[in-house]
């Protein structure tokens, strides 16, 4: 569909730009899968143990106690839902925006831990709990979440992708 440019000025498929233009829907598919896998990975570790996830949330000391438990309980299911919607390719831009916002919350949370001098093993991917000073990996954690921002940002920019339920429903070529 995109520019069947005459071979004069526009360098057809020349360089990264051309590649991205011609394959953006395939790239978006890859980004959807990447982001979905990340959400599944985040979610699965927390599904089994509501108490420990609530405690991980509590350890951040950001939310009031009355919100700690609901957030801790809902969090893995929210992540699971985002992952599922991404795999299906439904409302991709909206889901990408929500993903980016949630990641932003995580990033701000981790940065604020460092700023406030709270030492915990940040539980986004694995186990949580208090650790001693020097045992934290906040920089790595923030970098990791920033890295995951990339597919979210791409999908906000180019949500149209191959093999998405949304395009099938809209009657576009899938």
């Amino acid at each position: 569909m995109a520019s069947k440019a005459p071979a004069k000025d526009a360098p057809t498929g020349g360089g990264l730009r051309g590649f991205v233009d011609t394959n953006s829907q395939w790239i978006s598919l890859v980004m959807r899968i990447l982001l979905a896998v990340m959400w599944f990975w985040y979610s699965v570790g927390k599904l089994g143990s509501p108490e420990s996830n609530a405690q991980n949330v509590r350890d951040f000391r950001l939310l009031p106690e009355s919100l700690v438990t609901p957030f801790g309980y809902a969090q893995p299911y929210l992540e699971l839902a985002l992952g599922l919607l991404l795999i299906l390719g439904l409302g991709t831009r909206l889901v990408a925006i929500m993903s980016a916002l949630l990641l932003l919350v995580y990033i701000v949370g981790i940065i604020s831990l460092g700023a406030r001098g709270i030492y915990i093993s940040c539980g986004c991917g694995g186990s949580g709990g208090a650790v001693t000073k020097g045992h934290t990996r906040y920089t790595l954690d923030v970098l990791r979440d920033l890295l995951y921002m990339l597919p979210a940002a791409w999908l906000i920019w180019k949500p149209a992708s191959k093999l998405s339920l949304e395009r099938a429903l809209l009657g576009d070529p899938i």
Partner: protein, 293 residues
């Protein structure tokens, strides 16, 4: 909201007809295009609505399911030792032991002047590290009569991580105090040495705990087994948690160690080598002993 792709052909409806009136066919095509665009927007709105509903449902279901799981876990924990009145193991530090002041299990001569207070959880990995670093030193000073150790066992990991290993393991360890100090400390060290991964609730199974106790000489008697199985000291463990929580202002963390009231912080061994921490620990102990004369 989504999908910018695929709409290549549209648009250009404005300026096109400047000079010439659009023919009937063109107008019909334009109407069809508008209709198609409106349909598309409507579908996109519906999809957006479905996405929002899915997300909200996920949150609601999540809270319900997790709440249910958590309540089940709590019920299982409460079942252990249910109906047993509060009782403290032999030789605890408070006399009489009460719900509000349950006391710690004493190792060493009760008249020793220096007191080492160790608040720990048999499931807590950092407690295991603390035991590895300081356990032998504690024992050495206690055996020499220079200090007495008071072990307050709590069920922190159960509460924050689910399961009942802290409670079942801790209460059964408390039963060992009834058999004697030697049996208690041997079982205590064995439990930390064999501590399962934090997420593995192996100590929640009383048979696992009793089997481990079988390795300690002169410990497993019918009385001991019954004490462990009925959860005789479950209430004592919970009372110790409440006691510690009150002491720490609501935020319980283990291990929590004091030498004559001075807190000793376990540090990351990557930052402060084990040998250094042990030397520091001895120094604090020696200072306390010297001060007490």
């Amino acid at each position: 909201m989504t999908s910018d792709g695929g709409s290549g052909g549209g648009g250009k409806s404005d300026g096109g007809g400047g000079a010439r009136r659009p023919s009937g066919r063109e107008r019909a095509a334009e109407a069809r295009r508008r209709q198609a665009a409106a349909d598309r927007r409507r579908k996109q709105l519906i999809i957006g609505g479905v996405v929002l509903v899915v997300v909200v449902l996920a949150v609601l279901i999540g809270v319900l399911v997790q709440h249910n799981t958590s309540e089940n876990n709590k019920a299982k924990r409460n079942a252990y030792g249910a109906g047993q009145p509060f009782a403290a193991p032999t030789g605890v530090s408070s006399n009489p032991a009460t719900q509000a002041d349950p006391g710690g299990i004493v190792y060493g001569k009760p008249e020793a002047k220096v007191t080492v207070e160790v608040n720990e959880d048999v499931r807590c990995p950092f407690c295991k590290i603390a035991e590895t670093l300081f356990g032998a030193i504690n024992k050495e000073y206690a055996d020499a009569g220079k200090a007495k150790i008071q072990y307050h066992l709590v069920d922190l990991i159960d509460r924050v991580g689910g399961g009942q290993g802290s409670l079942v393991g801790g209460a059964t360890l408390a039963c060992a105090a009834d058999a004697g100090q030697a049996q208690f400390i041997a079982f205590h060290d064995l439990m930390f040495k064999n501590q399962p991964d934090e997420k593995d609730d192996a100590y929640g199974n009383i048979d696992t705990v009793l089997n481990l106790a079988g390795q300690v000489p002169d410990l497993r008697t019918a009385t001991f087994d019954a004490c462990g199985r009925t959860g005789r000291y479950a209430a004592w463990i919970k009372a110790n948690y409440d006691w510690l929580s009150k002491k720490l202002g609501g935020s319980v963390g283990t291990p929590d160690i004091y030498i004559d009231g001075t807190p000793v912080l376990l540090k990351d061994t990557a930052a402060v080598p084990a040998a250094q921490q042990q030397a520091d620990y001895r120094a604090v102990l020696d200072a306390a002993v010297a001060k007490q004369g």
